[in-house]
């Protein structure tokens, strides 16, 4: 109740803050790993790309988004807004990658999640843009460029995450068992009660077609034109 009043009060006092960004394009809902708004790919090509991406989802979540036009927004701005909305990748690995293409501006960007910045540093992302995608796009071979880039990125992230470290179980003493049986459940119940108040805020998280979607981004990757 108090929260509702607080919300009404704050809404009256400062206005709804989101309305200040009304002039920027809305980020679409994620429907699948390939969103082609410009009609650059035919149905077979799009589904092929989706297949390649879906085969590698355990190591990375790659998203392709092809837009009609940037509408004068810097590509870095649009791409960080998109990944902040979609939260590509998993929470533990932060392994999302967005390939954003605007054919009418001849601009593109690879946005790399924090967990893959080691495997795909900016210089490497720049090489993918310059040496793999650029030449193909200049020949209007959009499918080939994207396919090669996706394969390259999947392969790198597979190598990065291939050998998960094994956890070794430590011996458990009698006291620790007792602790586990009584104290920790009690603590759990207290934390649960505390969290009931906070859960509401978490529910407004990312919008993802799969069960995942909580990867972090800090602006890694590279932009380029062709």
């Amino acid at each position: 109740m108090a929260r509702i009043f607080l919300f009404i009060f704050l809404a009256l006092a400062i206005g709804i803050p989101e309305s200040t960004y009304a002039e920027l394009r809305a980020i679409p809902t994620l429907t699948g790993p390939v969103i082609d708004e410009a009609g650059l790919l035919n149905a077979t090509e799009a589904s092929n790309l989706e297949k390649v991406i879906s085969n590698n989802t355990s190591h990375s979540q790659i998203q392709i988004w092809i837009i009609k036009s940037l509408e004068n927004e810097p590509i870095e701005n649009l791409s960080i807004r998109a990944v902040e909305t979609w939260k590509l990748g998993s929470a533990q690995r932060d392994n999302g990658v967005l390939i954003l293409v605007s054919p009418s501006d001849r601009k593109m960007r690879i946005e790399v999640g924090q967990g893959l910045e080691g495997a795909i540093p900016d210089a490497f992302a720049a090489r993918i843009v310059r040496n793999i995608i650029g030449p193909a796009f200049r020949e209007r071979a959009y499918y080939r460029g994207l396919f090669l880039a996706v394969s390259e990125i999947s392969e790198i992230s597979r190598r990065e995450f291939e050998s998960p470290g094994q956890t070794i179980a430590a011996p458990v003493s009698g006291f620790e068992k007792l602790l586990g049986m009584f104290f920790i459940p009690l603590l759990f119940i207290i934390m649960l009660l505390v969290n009931v108040f906070r859960v509401r805020n978490r529910l407004a998280g990312g919008n993802i077609y799969g069960a995942r979607g909580s990867g972090g981004f800090s602006g890694g990757g590279s932009s380029g034109s062709w």
Partner: protein, 203 residues
């Protein structure tokens, strides 16, 4: 009425009171003000982290450009001095105020323009421009500039929320009773003077 039945009536009342109290507490900033302060600390740490990342790139970049353009001494000295000045300003979030944030911004702005001159030099040396090492460093520098922009945006957003919490009723009341936090300083628009001036065109 015995004492026993009195307490029987009192216990649910007490529980209900406790429940309402805790609801009020979560809405009035006892939790959200420290949480938001942590958020400000985290976002400021990220800003400094990215400043450091840019500074770390510079020695390599200078060496690479030197390999192709030894005679541009003035530019190298400019970059090195700007870097030294920028890295000497390392301020924790607790000591952050309008004045020293402005200083940091000035030093970082000078570093940015010195780096701009360094990259402009490269335009005159085709061999340098096509050097793979230089291109990689350039991509890293671009990436870092982008990361700085994003880290700044996130800091600005978190400070906005924090300042709202401690200045807007009712959480402002909680702050004045319990926490006594001051407003955190905001970044100003970068190079305001340069934005107002139209760019000079030379032929």
């Amino acid at each position: 009425m015995t004492k026993n039945s009195f307490s029987k009536h009192l216990t649910p009342l007490f529980l209900a009171g406790f429940f309402i109290m805790s609801l009020l507490l979560t809405g009035c900033g006892v939790q959200s003000i420290p949480q938001q302060l942590n958020e400000v600390e985290a976002t400021w740490a990220e800003v400094q982290n990215q400043f450091q990342r840019r500074a770390d790139l510079i020695p390599n970049l200078v060496e690479t450009v030197k390999g192709f353009a030894k005679q541009e001494q003035g530019v190298f000295v400019g970059v090195t001095e700007a870097r030294a000045k920028a890295t000497s300003l390392n301020i924790s979030v607790n000591d952050l105020n309008e004045a020293n944030l402005k200083k940091i911004q000035e030093a970082q702005g000078q570093l940015k323009s010195a780096l701009g001159r360094l990259l402009a030099v490269a335009e005159n040396y085709p061999a340098l421009k096509s050097d793979q090492n230089f291109r990689d460093l350039q991509a890293q520098l671009e990436g870092t500039e982008n990361r700085i922009t994003i880290a700044r945006q996130r800091y600005i957003e978190s400070v906005k929320q924090f300042n709202n919490l401690i200045t807007v009723f009712p959480t402002s009341l909680t702050n004045s009773i319990f926490f006594h936090h001051e407003k955190k300083p905001q970044f100003a628009a970068e190079n305001l003077n340069e934005i107002q001036k139209p760019p000079a065109v030379k032929f």
